[in-house]
């Protein structure tokens, strides 16, 4: 490996980290403005033009805030927990291709940091680490609310992780590869969201749980646990949790865009490779709005109901989705996949509705 390649990777990583961290700060602004818009409010509008400096003001405030560590907390873990939450959220984006290859100063540069051939596995394994941060934060705070938040978080993880992994399998089958760039290339004809809409929906639901967003935000549950696992955190350590959550929102949206929405693909991207990151940005922006929209409108689900939902609905459905995808590929009848999987999804929705109605009748 020559030194130029190492420099290339270092610079690319630095740029990506900078973009993600700025993105995180402005995602909070975006969320607050979008929520305010939905809720007939104005949102942050004092710091700078249209409140654009609000994230910076928040950051400055949090940096200068006193960092309290409870007397009976387990100090090492208490300090380590926010870091464990943030690092995977940033590292996970390493395998996401942000564009094709561009030529800078006569040198061909691929717009992804590490296009490893087991990208999907890498995402799966790194994404699950973040939950340790939350569980450990809950445990080390020595606070009952925080503990409950941490426990909920682990209960939540075992219920969505399977469905998340299985919805990746459908993509791997369709793309015939675990490498992210090849999955993107496989979508040149048609995006996988149209081939496997139900898989995409399962993935979306599971990612909402993965990033602890409403309606699956039980680990923090403001109304029940008064912010749960992070209740004892203040100052920059608290900001790190926020950073973890919001950076993960961006990373997960980027992954969603890559595996279902054709990644950096878009009109004219082959001639002008710099359009790739732009298309990615637009797709991520739209997906993030979906997450904010859900938060604004839906009540929180109960954590035992999420477990039931994960095991009784999402898991069988994603198994059915894999079966249908494999069948379609085996018979070389790709058009079968969306039709059959939509039928399967419809059946699942119908059964959930029926069970709710039965419950309403029985009460």
């Amino acid at each position: 490996m020559d030194s130029a390649l190492i420099w290339e990777i270092v610079i690319k990583s630095l740029v990506l980290i900078l973009v993600l961290l700025t993105g995180f700060a402005y995602l909070t602004y975006y969320e607050r403005r979008a929520l305010a818009r939905i809720q007939a409010r104005i949102g942050p509008n004092r710091a700078g033009p249209w409140g654009l400096l609000q994230p910076i003001a928040d950051a400055v405030k949090l940096i200068f805030k006193e960092e309290l560590i409870p007397a009976k907390a387990y100090k090492i873990v208490f300090i380590l927990a926010p870091i464990i939450t943030v690092v995977p959220a940033i590292v996970i984006t390493a395998v996401v291709p942000w564009g094709g290859t561009v030529i800078v100063g006569g040198r061909e540069i691929a717009l992804s940091i590490a296009d490893v051939n087991v990208g999907v596995l890498y995402i799966m394994s790194v994404a699950s680490i973040a939950v340790y941060g939350i569980v450990l934060a809950g445990w080390s705070s020595n606070n009952k609310y925080a503990m409950m938040g941490g426990l909920r978080s682990s209960a939540q993880m075992i219920s969505y992780e399977l469905a998340l992994g299985l919805s990746f399998v459908a993509v791997v089958l369709l793309g015939n590869s675990m490498q992210m760039s090849q999955i993107v290339d496989a979508q040149r004809g048609i995006w996988f969201i149209f081939l496997q809409p139900v898989g995409a929906v399962i993935f979306m639901i599971a990612t909402l749980a993965e990033v602890n967003r409403a309606p699956f935000d039980m680990p923090e549950a403001e109304q029940e646990l008064s912010s749960g696992y992070s209740v004892e955190y203040s100052g920059m350590k608290f900001a790190l949790f926020m950073m973890g959550e919001y950076t993960k929102m961006i990373s997960i949206s980027a992954i969603m865009a890559t595996i279902f929405l054709g990644g950096y693909l878009g009109p004219g991207v082959d001639r002008l490779p710099w359009l790739g990151p732009l298309y990615m940005f637009i797709k991520i922006f739209i997906l993030l709005f979906g997450m904010i929209w859900v938060r604004a409108t839906w009540p929180r689900i109960r954590y035992d109901r999420l477990m039931a939902f994960g095991w009784k609905v999402l898991l069988p459905l994603s198994l059915a989705v894999i079966f249908i995808t494999a069948l379609g590929i085996l018979l070389e009848q790709v058009w079968l996949i969306p039709i059959l999987s939509l039928i399967a999804g419809g059946v699942a929705v119908l059964m959930v509705n029926l069970s709710l109605r039965r419950k309403a009748y029985a009460r």
Binding site: Y145, R302, Y303, L356, A360
Partner: protein, 409 residues
């Protein structure tokens, strides 16, 4: 350094189960500083995992001494304190108090004042139910409904400001009538509410009534049977969600409620969802009452002519010696009530709001007691929350609709 009083298990062992004493279950202090206890309610929870084994409400953190304080004020002065009891039902508190005073001194109220009282009390009921709907939706994390509700409540508070100059603590209803007549803009403002409100309620229902997640959080949670609710003294929408159609506006009409045609919505399930449905339907019924009252709002005086109890108009004071004397007497000594004790109750948004007044013949009440619905409804909380999850407990607290100012007084 002040010595902290450490609570030992001995002191609370009659409240919790044996398993807590053995350390098998966790004792969790929820409140008084907690986002979903609707004020400063403290709950001592005994938890088995996340299941509530015991829920012990601890009240008194907002004790204001209003009942006692009212004894040292004249009947007119004491009314100002009633606003501060249940701060979401200020007009209703005024109404309850004024009806009690009027019963005590046998004062008549002109029909226009009665109709105005009904309109304002029903507007207040709408505003209170809006706060309830918003906060209880927020308890299950449907956060937008909260802000929509407060947007609509603002319109109603503007009407209160229009008629009385105050948004919340109006003291507009006075013994013998109302403070003043309403301004000319009043009718348009109320008609505007009548026009826009049904659509708004439809919007809230669109967000919640058939939302599968909301159903999941509310159906079959916190059930209470009609018998049990009656035994615990539950009143208001929380009772009507269990079956009995006990509404004081129908069963013991006051202020001319008997002239208006409205239904008392009831459900039999007695769970969180039923309480939600009852209150939402009540909002529609309130609109019906307001519309009828506004359509046939009679003209005429807005205060009783009995100047022993009601101050004479300002214009008379300059020309009539009696008016001047009455005015002087009322503002120095106040009016005296005959010896005796009465109880009078109205239907507040939360249930039966009763006032007990005892008079020793002087210008100040000898004893005042408020039978407040929040207090009695709160008592049933341990029954409702046996064996539910913490997440459900929050929904249940929201659904019984307590106001801590109403609990501690």
């Amino acid at each position: 350094m002040t010595q902290l009083h450490e609570v030992t298990m001995d002191e609370i062992k009659h409240l919790v189960s044996d398993r807590a004493l053995a350390g098998e279950t966790v004792l969790l202090n929820m409140g008084p500083q907690h986002p979903s206890t609707h004020g400063v309610l403290r709950l001592l929870l005994e938890l088995d995992g996340e299941t509530v084994v015991n829920c012990i409400p601890d009240v008194g953190f907002l004790h204001t001494g209003i009942e006692k304080n009212m004894e040292s004020k004249t009947y007119q002065q004491a009314e100002v304190m009633t606003d501060r009891l249940d701060y979401l039902n200020t007009v209703g508190n005024n109404l309850a108090y004024c009806l009690a005073v009027e019963k005590l001194v046998e004062l008549d109220v002109p029909p226009r004042a009665q109709a105005l009282r009904v309109i304002l009390a029903e507007l207040q009921r709408l505003a209170s139910h809006l706060v309830w709907l918003g906060t209880s939706a927020l308890d299950v994390a449907a956060m937008s409904v909260f802000l929509y509700c407060f947007r609509e409540r603002e319109v109603i508070l503007d009407i209160f400001e229009l008629v009385s100059g105050q948004r919340m603590m109006t003291t507009f209803i006075r013994p013998g009538g109302t403070w003043r007549d309403v301004p000319v803009e009043f009718e348009d403002a109320v008609r505007n509410v009548l026009e826009t409100f049904p659509k708004r309620i439809d919007e809230y229902e669109a967000l919640l009534t058939k939302n599968p997640l909301f159903l999941d959080r509310t159906l079959g949670i916190g059930k209470v049977s009609a018998e049990e609710a009656l035994q615990w003294g539950v009143t208001g929408p929380s009772l009507r969600a269990s079956g009995p159609d006990w509404d004081l506006r129908k069963t013991r009409p006051y202020s001319g409620y008997e002239q208006y045609d409205f239904d008392v919505p009831t459900h039999t399930e007695g769970d969180v969802y039923a309480r939600y449905l009852v209150r939402v339907q009540e909002m529609r019924e309130s609109l019906k009452i307001i519309r009828q009252a506004l359509d046939k709002l009679p003209l005429g005086p807005i205060r009783s002519n009995d100047h022993k109890f009601v101050p004479p108009p300002r214009s008379e004071i300059g020309v009539s010696m009696e008016a001047l004397i009455h005015h002087f007497k009322l503002w120095t000594e106040g009016f005296s009530a005959p010896k005796g004790a009465i109880y009078s109750a109205v239907e507040s948004p939360r249930g039966e709001l009763g006032v007990y007044l005892e008079s020793d013949g002087g210008p100040k009440p000898y004893r005042v007691h408020w039978r407040t619905p929040s207090f009695n409804n709160l008592e049933v909380l341990p029954v409702l929350s046996k064996g539910v999850l913490v997440a459900d407990l929050v929904a249940i607290i929201g659904s019984v609709d307590i106001v801590l100012g109403d609990v501690d007084r």
